[in-house]
Symmetry: C2
Subunit: 711 residues, 2 copies
């Protein structure tokens, strides 16, 4: 699946936040012409990928490349058929409001809809009648009605001199645009910043709130192969949830929905993925990429490794722990796989050489125009300087604090910091503690949180040992955190003697405020008091540098748009995009990975692992095997450009018919985060034929299959 | 399959030649003690692999590692059950003389046994009765009866001062030992040099000459997945031929044959591969490995690439050419895959660091003993010096001559050289032209050989262009070969105007001798006359350097044996070895490659490629699919140490029962040529259960299956 527990899901949510706090009055075609006249015509650079916005579809590029140029009607139809879930993509796939998305995108509803004595995640579910369809509390679906460019209005409102003034003005105008739009249109309006602020657009959504569960297979077939197979191909997953949108208690009849392709995806066919990619970093400068490659990602990978060693130690001590920690271990292993993939893209010398060549050309284009050069010429160097400074105290930033995997350290740090930040004026607080943030953190600290003391001891000791190895011996953090003792001794003392694990104790400290914190003799509070100012110092310094990078990144985005216009698609922002691609096998493992898999392959992979978890088939799939046409296409790959957030996107052909359902990327595709390449990176989808075959033969779902296929 | 058309098969044959021209009087246990008393006990180094000889089985290592220590009876039984074909391995697998080997090992017999109107390679064959079994003309099977160490006798006979004298004496004493042994024992005796001459052993074989074909499946199922899947896993090949040994017109009843395991290979099981690995380079010094990594293999890879570009150009011109050149292209692609794999092992910094550490320890062991140091201390540096010198004129050696893919250039060169070498005394000739070599070459030159003129023009031009790019402009070869013209012009002229393609013309030149060659105005003969002395100069220089390397390599082998004894297995020599390993999955492609595949997987891979060649199933496998239990294990992987020549080796369990049939290595295993690692490299075998299931359900082979399983 695309949104793995740790990294990708995190990315999607984070990008969703960025979208809602940023902002964008012209149409897409106006944008296209806006800033380019004085420059040489810009041509498409494949390394920027193909996440096109619907107000600037690259019709010429498509015509040139595929001999296909969809008209506005086609584009409007596809846009309206595609919908967005809170953290996934989806689409209308029937005249009566069926919505198709991934299994993991509907997981909460599927679990919550289960009867008391059973769990649909384990048993699967297919509603026999409309009346059986289960309401998904809290779930909603957004349909993009229109896009309006509001860049001039946003820019016009930003008149302040300081970054803080500008930021406040930007937030205010975006908020104003959204409120006005909501009131005028009765739609859900969101201002989206594209090209890091190169343009601002208001996206207007119609929101549907009555969503019901129609069908979800067993988790074990939806996520067949589990974490080992995650991000890989060949693949055999029925990663599907079917929902239905209701209106006034009746199935909604959408004006636009995607018809079902009779054949499904076929080899070498042009296909489009329509969905909401979460976040990419293709506008990053070389300096930013090098920082991630050489500092940021290696640090993350080292932290994953430390965590895995801890789980391994615990499991060796107690074999029953293996089961208890299994999900955590798999989650970390998956994050490790993802970050290793991101970094692989940055370690690829050919890709980086392309990126470097692009940056030179880009800077030359800017330098060729004195006005642009005055505005943007210095940005690259400013980012590089800030990244260098961040790198210079990266170990201090990582270790002088409350990081690592320990829950206790985080709780202790939170208690001390809430006390110290509360006393400051809002603007002087650390970012997270401003406004409503403080109350959120206070609230979180009073919740009951289970403490695994065996894990805590190892996690604190591992964190302190790593700090000892990477920081100079005279670093004030080492002195404050260890006080001459060993990491193991400190960890043992803190875990054994602190009461911070007790929610009532935390409540009393929060109520007592600064006085209570200052007077506390709890060893963890004493420890956190000593570490807090050191942490605050590096955190504040990093925050300032990151603000510099963010401000300059925004300029880079503006410069990019000024120099290249919409010839290059903007970075992903969890908003609707259309990506072109081709159904295509790829070289893998010394041979060819086929463009599709079949149910034969599913049974083959299960049998090859002696039907052991996570390759164990649901009982239904064992019992009813002979019902299936085993040669039916099941999963397939294409060269479309996707990332977390695209989960659940429909794959459509030139007739705008569904040929598949996106659910993952292969491992080679993970490195597309910063530099796109279709050489070996692939989008992995459930084949439309496999969906219908499974519905009919496994889930007694003729009612649903007939509806999908328009019978 | 292991013996791919180009590289591996070549390796096997070459190593067979080496074996027959080299040579070794004590038992294995005596060997074990021979040279070690004064040194610290040597321990096993995994990077040397596990190709153990039967006279020095590592019983202690096996007991320590697996808790299994086979007795001499077990070892003798297994040795006698294993047999050798001219270029493959095999084994007795029934009481009535059935012999199991790979499909490609029996290919010639299978093709030759076909009726006039049909081809068993295409249709498959299974003899219904004994009377139906087809005689394989010329095929023989060798069974290893005994091994005797003859090192002292060989060494004692070598008294000469010069390398030439020593070489002649060595050949003479080996020949003498073999002849005596043949006469005394009526067996087929071969003196084998192990550890590059560290020890010499006489291997005594019983030869069986009446071999008949019992069963061979269709080539398309034996080699399912074709060249793309070659050297890879997961895999789905029934790479099987069953032969029968006859004696006096009746099935031979061997004293020792391998029983069939009821279960076949299971996960994590200890298994042994018993067979004849062709050639490894694990005793190579770092200098030799670096030369291959940095000079030799890159040159080979560049040549493959040039050849592929030529075929690509021809195919673009004429699409019907694609079919014509398909086999050549696949063959080169496979060589490319193999050499890329060999080189990958040398590019692996961790493996090379291990090898470097070993070489340091090895040299320190030698240096610690003044006598050994005097004998062997200088060898590493002498090899390094020779490799450096070879590298210094590597482009001249490659281009000043008749290399490349052009048949015409090779014919022209041969004609000129036969004339020039014939005039010299035998000892002054280039090695290939000495003794019977000259007549062989003369004979080859008179054979009719098809000339593809379109290919020739491109091949000659490509070779000359590459020479132009890599040699200095004033290189005498460039001046002689181009004479100021372009490579394309030279190639066009030679191909258009030469008569060398005509066998009668070649015959007349050979008959005319030096006079005819000197007087010829044929442009290719003129060209070859100009190039010949330049080529001769670099060839002679390289020959001398390679002789230095060979002489010092022999010393390295002797030193290794002196320092480590049989704690490390010798390099492969196409003689019988027993390798230990475990049936084991491995990390691959971001996930896990399962320890086995099943018939489900076979049908899955075929369906995923829409049953297109080379994933097309034989008609029988389509028609009779429902007969099969699709969950039957089909192929599997283990950590045994194999290489070309091991094709057809049985995989056996602790009870010496057949659990599988070796036919390939995965792509990760190719890099084991120089440095063995079982991290991801695997041996790929047909599972014994898959063989029986296929015989019974697909080939009406109950007669054969019953015989195998002892029913």
């Amino acid at each position: 699946m695309l949104t793995s527990r740790f990294v990708l899901r995190g990315v999607t949510l984070a990008s969703a936040l960025i979208v809602s706090t940023q902002a964008a009055g012209q149409s897409g075609t106006a944008r296209r012409a806006q800033a380019q006249p004085q420059l040489q015509p810009a041509t498409y650079r494949p390394e920027f990928g193909t996440m096109w916005t619907f107000d600037a579809p690259p019709i010429d590029y498509w015509r040139r490349t595929y001999g296909f140029a969809p008209d506005q009607k086609w584009l409007d139809h596809v846009r309206l058929a595609a919908v967005r879930l809170p953290n996934c993509s989806a689409s209308f796939v029937s005249s009566r409001g069926l919505v198709m998305t991934n299994h993991h995108c509907g997981r909460e509803c599927t679990a919550a809809s289960s009867p008391p004595d059973s769990n649909y995640i384990e048993t699967g579910f297919a509603a026999r009648t409309l009346a059986d369809e289960k309401k998904c509390a809290g779930l909603y679906v957004d349909q993009l009605q229109s896009i309006q460019n509001v860049t001039d209005r946003v820019r016009g409102a930003i008149t302040g001199r300081t970054a803080a003034e500008q930021s406040a003005q930007r937030s205010a105008v975006i908020s104003q645009i959204q409120t006005e739009c909501n009131q005028q249109t009765k739609l859900n309006c969101q201002v989206v910043s594209l090209y890091n602020g190169g343009i601002y657009s208001v996206y207007r959504y119609r929101r549907f709130n009555d969503i019901r569960l129609v069908m979800a297979p067993e988790g074990s077939i939806a996520f067949f192969g589990g974490d080992p197979d995650n991000f890989t191909y060949p693949r055999y997953d029925l990663d599907l949830t079917l929902l239905r949108v209701y209106e006034n208690g009746q199935p909604y009849t959408p004006s636009d929905y995607l018809r079902w392709s009779p054949a499904g995806a076929v080899e070498d066919e042009l296909v489009f993925v329509v969905g909401n990619p979460g976040s990419t970093g293709r506008l990053n400068t070389i300096a930013q990429m090098e920082y991630l490659r050489d500092v940021g990602y290696p640090a993350s990978l080292a932290a994953y490794k430390r965590a895995l060693v801890i789980y391994d130690t615990l499991t060796r001590r107690d074999t029953s722990a293996a089961r208890r920690y299994q999900n955590d271990v798999f989650g970390i292993a998956n994050s490790q796989k993802a970050v290793t993939g991101y970094r692989a893209g940055l370690l690829d010398t050919l890709s980086m050489a392309k990126k470097r060549a692009f940056e030179q050309e880009f800077r030359a284009r800017i330098a060729a125009d004195p006005k642009l050069q005055a505005q943007y010429g210095a940005t690259w160097d400013e980012i590089a300087r800030a990244q260098r400074e961040l790198a210079s105290f990266s170990p201090q930033l990582r270790y002088r604090g409350f990081g690592g995997a320990s829950t206790l350290l985080q709780l202790g740090a939170g208690l001390v910091r809430v006390a110290s930040e509360s006393g400051k004026p809002d603007s002087a607080r650390l970012t997270q503690y401003r406004g409503a943030g403080l109350d959120n953190i206070r609230n979180q600290l009073t919740q009951p949180i289970p403490i695994d003391t065996a894990f805590e001891r190892l996690a604190i000791a591992a964190q302190l040992r790593a700090a000892q190895a990477e920081l100079p011996a005279n670093d004030p953090f080492i002195r404050a955190a260890l006080g001459g003792r060993t990491p193991d001794a400190v960890a043992a003392d803190l875990v054994r003697n602190t009461r911070v694990g007790d929610p009532a104790f935390r409540q009393s400290l929060l109520q007592g405020g600064t006085t209570a914190i200052s007077a506390s003799t709890d060893p963890l509070i004493v420890w956190a008091r000593a570490v807090d100012p050191l942490n605050r110092e590096v955190t504040a310094r990093a925050t300032a540098l990151n603000a510099t990078i963010a401000a300059n990144s925004e300029k880079i985005g503006q410069a990019l748009f000024a120099a290249y216009g919409t010839a290059l698609p903007p970075d992903a922002t969890f908003t609707l995009r259309i990506s072109d691609g081709v159904v295509k096998s790829f070289p893998s493992n010394g041979t060819i990975a086929p463009y599709k898999t079949t149910f034969y392959g599913l049974y083959g992979r299960s049998a090859a692992f002696d039907n052991k978890d996570p390759f164990k088939l649901p009982e239904r799939w064992v019992q009813r095997k002979n019902n299936l046409n085993l040669a039916t296409p099941y999963n397939f790959v294409s060269t479309n450009d996707i990332i977390g957030g695209n989960s659940g996107s429909p794959v459509i052909n030139k007739n705008a018919e569904v040929v598949g359902l996106v659910f993952d990327s292969n491992i080679e595709g993970i490195s597309n985060r910063f530099i796109f390449s279709s050489a070996v990176g692939r989008t992995v989808s459930v084949h439309s034929s496999g969906i219908v075959e499974a519905l009919r033969k496994m889930y007694d779902g003729a009612r649903i299959a007939d509806e999908l296929t328009g019978r």
